[in-house]
């Protein structure tokens, strides 16, 4: 599954990245290299598209593409073969999708929205019937609260009518294929949603999945009646940072060092490094000097500028030698990007 999409992303990387670079983009890896690649190769649409997948499975899929001779190359650069391009031709439907990976998948917003929406439909449908008890679909505690508050405030009858009108109106504007997949995924009165696998029959599982997610993105991009604001409130609340990075940020602002943060939060040092890079990239208040001496930063910035944007982290590390660790280089890269966008 997602074979066509992975191949598509590899082709977009223009023979300058490995297949695992493509996997990182789809998985939504929060590293400077991946974030840079997304911008450089204009892959915002698919960034984080496979966030809910296991990294292991995606890596196996890349391996499979090699074995089937869809792609060639080494662990630095992969290229799509003629056989691969032949397969890509069959995935033209992908271009018609309203899929907004960077905005809704990378951030995890789509998944949260889906769980809340699904539970709302299920609750509103079940409460409208005589058989009010139901086996609730999976949702986190705060998501359940959000749905409960919607129903409590507006009343289940009103919620039922409004959500029907809203979904009916939006789905009418989409291909019937997509609308049917989306509605079949929903739980409702005395009815559970079908799984993606169950819906894959006349079309590949990959297409079912991406069409379903596209409808979610489409719905998220529209205006929702006031009664349903708790469905999308999480989108506004969060910044570009991951939840865990926000917690690290609090310690950064308290003047803690990298090791102190790792100890205090019980995280691996490499995870804290990822957070620091993320902060360096998005947070204009990030106190960079504490984590990289200004001399070192200057030296690495020069190396990074000389290398140009196409260079991979590995190449740069080779050039830099002892002048900086991988972390130093990532941090310098992130700070450069942050400055360029005028945030610093």
């Amino acid at each position: 599954m997602l074979k066509g999409l992975l191949l598509h992303v590899i082709s977009k990387l223009q023979k300058s990245r490995s297949a695992s670079g493509a996997v990182h983009i789809l998985k939504g890896k929060r590293s400077a290299q991946t974030i840079q690649d997304i911008e450089l190769f204009q892959l915002n649409q698919w960034a984080g598209a496979a966030r809910c997948w296991k990294g292991k499975d995606l890596a196996a899929l890349a391996e499979q593409l090699y074995n089937e001779k869809m792609i060639t190359g080494d662990n630095r650069r992969s290229a799509v073969t003629d056989k691969g391009y032949h397969l890509l031709k069959q995935t033209a439907w992908m271009n018609e999708l309203y899929f907004q990976g960077r905005e809704y998948e990378w951030t995890g917003f789509a998944e949260v929205f889906w769980r809340k929406l699904n539970l709302t439909v299920q609750a509103a449908g079940s409460l409208a019937s005589t058989n009010r008890g139901f086996l609730p679909v999976y949702a986190e505690a705060d998501e359940r609260d959000a749905v409960r508050s919607i129903i409590k405030r507006a009343g289940s009858r009103r919620v039922n009518r409004l959500i029907y009108e809203k979904l009916d109106q939006e789905l009418r504007q989409l291909p019937d294929k997509s609308a049917l997949i989306f509605v079949s995924r929903l739980a409702g009165n005395q009815s559970q949603g079908k799984t993606v696998k169950q819906l894959a029959g006349s079309m590949p599982e990959e297409e079912v999945y991406l069409r379903w997610r596209s409808v979610i993105h489409q719905l998220m991009s529209t205006e929702w009646p006031e009664e349903f604001l708790p469905l999308i409130s999480h989108v506004k609340q969060q910044s570009a940072l991951t939840n865990s990075a926000v917690k690290t940020r609090a310690l950064v602002m308290n003047g803690k060092s990298k090791d102190e943060i790792a100890a205090e939060r019980g995280l691996k040092s490499s995870t804290v490094e990822d957070h620091l890079v993320e902060l360096a990239m998005f947070d204009s208040a990030f106190p960079a000097a504490r984590y990289i001496p200004s001399e070192k930063l200057k030296e690495l910035t020069v190396i990074l500028q000389d290398a140009g944007q196409q260079a991979s982290l590995k190449d740069i590390k080779e050039t830099a030698g002892d002048k900086g660790s991988y972390f130093d280089i990532r941090l310098a890269g992130a700070l450069m990007k942050n400055r360029k966008e005028g945030k610093l």
Partner: protein, 483 residues
């Protein structure tokens, strides 16, 4: 208040055999050991007292994956103040449960959680009126799934201020009962024991010499069987493959699927949107579906206990149902394979686990890589945690090896017993009853395939075929225009 009055306000109209005695005994403050067969409504036995006793009822359950289902089921039946606390919960969720603890009436916990001092201390501050030990046979090494963490529950009970204790199990021989009573320090308990026998279930076992033709045979059998029908497959792969080969709507269910998909399939089966389900034994314990007409075992089960428990998911409504098992000689390999997954080998313990522990490696990863069953993994890790720091790694490993050797012998015995049952030419019901040390007898009609011909059982009428028009489907989901 008497037990009957408690039923008002619940969806239950009357007690099933055993329930009323158990509830009354608990309300009278008497320790109780209830041996009630699967499907006889054990949950109700503590749900009703939990609702009116002051403070909290704690339910210890060994099956983490089941706890959330049980909470869901309670909430579906209108009992809202329940939660489950186990190692697989997100930290945020755990925090939330702790904050709401004083408002809860019923809390499910895993035995591992109760072994943690911090958790015990917090529970000690509350009024605990009732301690329920579910699957209590796990406490006895004579039972079929001995869980060492259960051993300390007698102590935990005292630390919680000696609440009334209810021990629940579906099957327990005399020996296991005595063991449970002494381990949990029960005071003059009421022992409410009901037979494992389910007279409305016809027991059919077929032996196949030619295991290669089994798949075809099974698919035909399922097609001809009364629906809803659960087919237990030995492996995840068989669940997927058989479901894809079955002509007609069906689905598969196994532990390798994500939570959302599992929930979805479970719900579709519950609501009769699908009436044929190919599943591994991971399926079907938490959610009560009363109208299952057929349970098929497509392989030889791992033990008589497991077999009886799984066929017990048929006919919970008391109406006639049938249990088929299709077994072949080489099926014995499969239970042995599970034994290997469940019980780590001595070589692995000495040559992989011990060196890793001594090198202070991340044991969670080492254990995960070895892909053992869930409770084996948690047992291995908990043995190495802080509680055991006074022992050397070698001592811990050698103690575990001894324990595992014993367990392996027990499993061998269980496999021998189920093989004997499957190969038998005399009444299956009789043999099952004598296995559980009950008075053996055969049913006069519709007993088993060694006594009588297979009965005809009516399928539940299938639900309307699914619509392929999204507007129509959306209306159905939201119950719009249905009057």
């Amino acid at each position: 208040m008497n037990a009957k009055e408690l039923l008002q306000g619940t969806p239950f109209k009357e007690f099933r055999p055993g329930q009323e005695n158990v509830v009354t005994s608990i309300l009278n403050g008497r320790d109780t050991l209830a041996v009630l067969p699967t499907g006889s409504g054990k949950t109700l036995c503590y749900q009703l007292p939990a609702g009116i006793l002051p403070g909290l009822t704690i339910v210890v359950s060994p099956l983490v994956s089941l706890m959330d289902d049980q909470v869901t089921q309670l909430k579906m039946n209108g009992f809202q103040k329940a939660a489950a606390l186990h190692g697989n919960k997100q930290p945020e969720e755990k925090k939330r449960i702790w904050q709401q603890l004083s408002q809860l009436k019923l809390l499910y916990v895993s035995p591992e959680m109760l072994a943690v001092d911090k958790i015990k201390q917090r529970l000690q501050k509350l009024t605990v009126s009732l301690l329920v030990v579910d699957e209590a046979h796990c406490i006895s090494q004579w039972g079929h799934e001995f869980r060492p963490d259960y051993k300390s529950l007698g102590e935990v009970r005292e630390e919680l201020g000696n609440p009334v204790l209810l021990a629940l199990t579906a099957t327990a021989s005399e020996l296991v009962r005595t063991d449970i009573a002494s381990s949990l320090r029960l005071h003059h308990p009421l022992i409410e024991a009901h037979s494992v026998n389910r007279e409305n279930i016809f027991i059919a076992i077929e032996r196949m010499n030619e295991p290669t033709s089994r798949q075809q045979h099974l698919l035909k059998l399922v097609a001809a069987s009364a629906k809803p029908c659960i087919i237990y497959t030995g492996t995840r792969r068989d669940a997927e493959v058989w479901s894809s080969l079955y002509k007609g709507p069906s689905a598969f269910y196994h532990g390798g699927m994500n939570a959302e998909d599992r929930n979805s399939i479970q719900g579709q089966f519950l609501y009769n949107e699908i009436d044929v389900l190919f599943a591994t034994s991971a399926f079907g314990m938490g959610i009560n579906k009363p109208d299952v007409r057929t349970v098929v075992h497509g392989y030889m089960p791992a033990s008589v206990e497991q077999y009886v428990q799984e066929i017990g998911r048929a006919g919970r409504d008391g109406n006639r149902a049938i249990a088929h098992a299709v077994v072949a000689d080489r099926d014995m390999m499969l239970p042995w394979h599970f034994v290997e997954m469940e019980i780590p080998g001595t070589d692995w313990m000495r040559n992989v686990l011990l060196p890793a522990a001594e090198a202070n490696k991340d044991l969670t990863q080492v254990v995960e890589d070895a892909a053992f069953a869930e409770h084996t993994a948690s047992l291995l890790i908990s043995r190495f945690n802080e509680n055991n720091r006074e022992k050397t790694g070698q001592e811990i490993v050698e103690a575990l090896i001894q324990q595992f050797d014993k367990r392996r012998q027990e499993r061998a015995e269980q496999i021998r017993q189920i093989t004997t049952l499957c190969n038998s030419t005399s009444c299956y019901r009789k043999q099952i009853l004598s296995y559980f040390e009950e008075v053996p007898y055969s049913a006069e009609e519709n007993c088993c395939s060694n006594c009588h011909a297979n009965p005809h059982i009516e399928s539940l009428p299938p639900r309307q075929r699914s619509v392929d028009n999204w507007q129509e489907l959306l209306k159905n989901k939201l119950h719009i225009g249905a009057g």
